[in-house]
Amino acid sequence: MSSLLPQPDSALLGRPRSYGAIVWGQLRKRSSAMISLAIILVLALAAMLAPFVAGEVPIRWVENGEASWPIFRYLTNAEYVAMLAFVLAAALPLTVRLVRRRAERVGASPLMRAIAIHAGIWIVVAAGLLTLREPERRYGFYLERAGEAQSAWFPLIPTPRYPGYESLVHRDEPPSWQHPFGTGRLGDDILLRILYGGRTALTIGFVAVGISACIGVVLGSLSGYFLRWVDLMVMRLAEIFMFIPQLVLIIIILAVIPSSVDPLWAVVFVIGVTGWTGTYRLMRAELLRIRGEDYMTAARALGLPTWRLLLRHAIPNGLAPILVGATFGIAGAVFIEVSLAFLNLVQTPSWGELLTDGRQHLETWWVWGSAGAAIFVTVLVYNLLGEAIRDAIDPKLKV
């Protein structure tokens, strides 16, 4: 039977490329996008592998002829979980290929299936680690006994302890080989603070934007698909959050959040909950466009239930602009964190805190300079990437 149907000429059409592949192809042509992606990766790796770059726990330690790898005992569970997420994300293409080879039946796309598998692995391992493992926490142990070891591989910059460590001997020192970014008022190594501040920035950026993107996508697609009173109500809700300046809203929420909540998660929460209006408006506009498309009419004519129309047909086709919004959103979240640290509303090791510390003493330029440079470079690369993705999605605009 199938031989009677006209067969598409495979030589003419070529291998069908998915939307994502087309966008990626466009993106690869842009040098600014590739450079910013590389910088983003380096920054993320540096933040994640901070204990290997600077710290006091040796990577390898040989004493009395016995070799050990102390740093792996000291890495916290959160660090392992983050590294695992990174490795799993990097291995995603491999799994996609495996899944594609195995599965021929019609169903979820190989990418979705691979993501589900990896998320499953991640959740199981993370839960196991958090319940079973207890990381070592004794500091100030190895650095003093460095002479007793037959061999010790310390991190690139052997600095005592974690941020907040006070060494009154090395105060306000300009950059040197021992402290590449100099030291602060309390003898704290600035590179260490930059690395750990990068963790804060990335956490706030990704988690807060994740929260706001989820809220925005759900509300935006409901609003754009159902229109009428749903749209009217949700639009009013969005207006409330649009009209009260986001920073003001965050300030009043932070003023009333109980102090028992970890300041980092308080900031993540407020930025996520207040910052969804941009995504909402993008998603609503996309849904307004999509609901009139032919494939939606076809799907509706097939009698598909509404949830399936939305989840499988409408929302996936409207996600591309959200990616652009989210990339800009990460840059925006870093900005907000800087403002909040400056207003002294949150106390958590971050670039904003470092910048605020540094502005009291401008003559130690390396303090505010490195914090400012870290913020500037991070925000710039995310903005560059966002612009590049936008151009790649809509090449006709070529702004």
């Binding site: 009260i244 300030i251 710039l380």
Partner: protein, 371 residues
């Protein structure tokens, strides 16, 4: 046009209700107690138990526990163990329904007070003669913030539009590329960093050229200045703050203006205008630019909340006694009445400006009215 205005005004009502409700709920859900904060603010650290009792007395005197009275009348008095103890930890109602009901009553009461012009009492700014009305406190500081923001908006508009225009006309040439990158770089500098560097290198006592004043908007003894001196003094003081307020907006608007103009330059009517043989300058300035400026009205209004947020930071950096610094101080002192009034005011102001912007748009572009 009349129907359009009426429709817009009617749609404003739920938004205003929402803004007040959100403000109220945030403060309502706060775990801290405003009355205890007030006592702490007046008498420093005191014994927590004594403070709780004092707070309870104040509440009884102010009639703040009459919610129970209302509930008892409608649903009958609860038994002894259900009733919250007067000396209990805080004014907490265990039942979820009770919480909602009491929040509802509280909200209604608050809105009633707002309607009669009673915005509560500021606990942070008290004088010996009594507490200050938050609205009066804010009204005192509005001229400062408004002046700075109006200057900033004007500068943003008159710098960003020409830059965007030039970039769009020379699309892909060196000016376009350079301005695009510079604008993106501007957009990536946090206000705190810009303020710090400007203040540190250009301000008095700084490291570089120390000519600019570093705090406030007036020199010492400005009351005795003639108005010319006063104006020059104020302008001189506002140079750095205005720079901090504008550079981000310029970057944003220049990019949008460029995109908008490019879109219009590709439109059919521009081709028609060119085909008619009109000179290029007339095509650009008379046809394309005018049309691309239209959406800028809405964009300018929508940047307003961002500008207000920015002025919170700028006023703190430069110690300018405006509404932004007031909000920061209020948040740090847990001054709920002041926080609520100010948030409400910001929301309503933006709403009103957006309405004006929309009406202007509808007046300029009749197609909008009939949508």
């Amino acid at each position: 046009m009349k129907t359009y205005i009426l429709k817009r005004l009617l749609l404003m009502i739920p938004t205003i209700v929402g803004i007040t409700l959100l403000t109220y709920l945030i403060v309502r859900l706060a775990p801290g107690d405003p009355i205890e904060a007030m006592i702490r603010n007046q008498s420093g650290n005191i014994d927590p138990k004594a403070m709780k009792e004092d707070a309870q007395k104040i509440r009884e005197r102010l009639g703040l526990i009459d919610y129970h009275y209302v509930r008892d009348r409608f649903f009958g008095a609860p038994s002894e163990e259900e009733r919250p103890q007067p000396t209990g930890a805080s004014y907490k109602v265990t039942d979820a329904l009770d919480t909602v009901a009491s929040a509802g009553i509280g909200y209604g009461r608050w809105v009633g007070h707002l309607a009669t012009g009673d915005f509560g009492e500021s606990i942070k700014y008290r004088t010996s003669s009594g507490s200050r009305n938050p609205l009066a406190l804010i009204a005192e500081r509005i001229p400062v913030t408004a002046t700075l923001n109006i200057i900033a908006e004007l500068l943003i508009f008159f710098i960003a539009i020409p830059v965007g225009l030039a970039a769009a006309r020379h699309q892909g040439k060196w000016f376009d590329r350079a301005s695009s990158f510079v604008m993106l770089a501007f957009w990536s500098v946090p206000t705190v960093l810009a303020g710090t560097v400007l203040l540190g290198f250009l301000g008095k006592g700084g490291l570089g050229w120390s000519g600019f004043p570093i705090a406030g908007l007036h020199s010492f003894g400005y009351e005795k200045f003639s108005w010319g001196e006063y104006l020059a003094d104020t302008l001189w003081h506002s140079v750095l703050p205005v720079v901090c307020l504008t550079y981000g907006g310029i970057a944003y608007l220049a990019k949008l203006g460029r995109a908008s103009l490019l879109e219009n330059l590709r439109a059919d009517y521009v081709r028609t205008a060119r085909a008619k043989g009109l000179p290029e300058s007339r095509v650009v300035y008379h046809h394309a630019l005018r049309n691309s400026l239209l959406p800028m009205i809405t964009v300018m209004v929508l940047t307003l909340p961002g500008l207000i947020g920015g002025s919170v930071i700028v006023e703190t950096i430069f110690s300018i006694q405006g509404t932004g610094l007031l909000l920061v101080n209020a948040a740090q002192a847990y001054d709920l009445a002041l926080i609520m009034t100010e948030t409400l005011l910001y929301g309503v102001l933006t709403l009103v400006f957006l309405l004006i912007g929309d009406l202007l748009y509808a007046w300029a572009d009749p197609r909008v009215r009939y949508e």
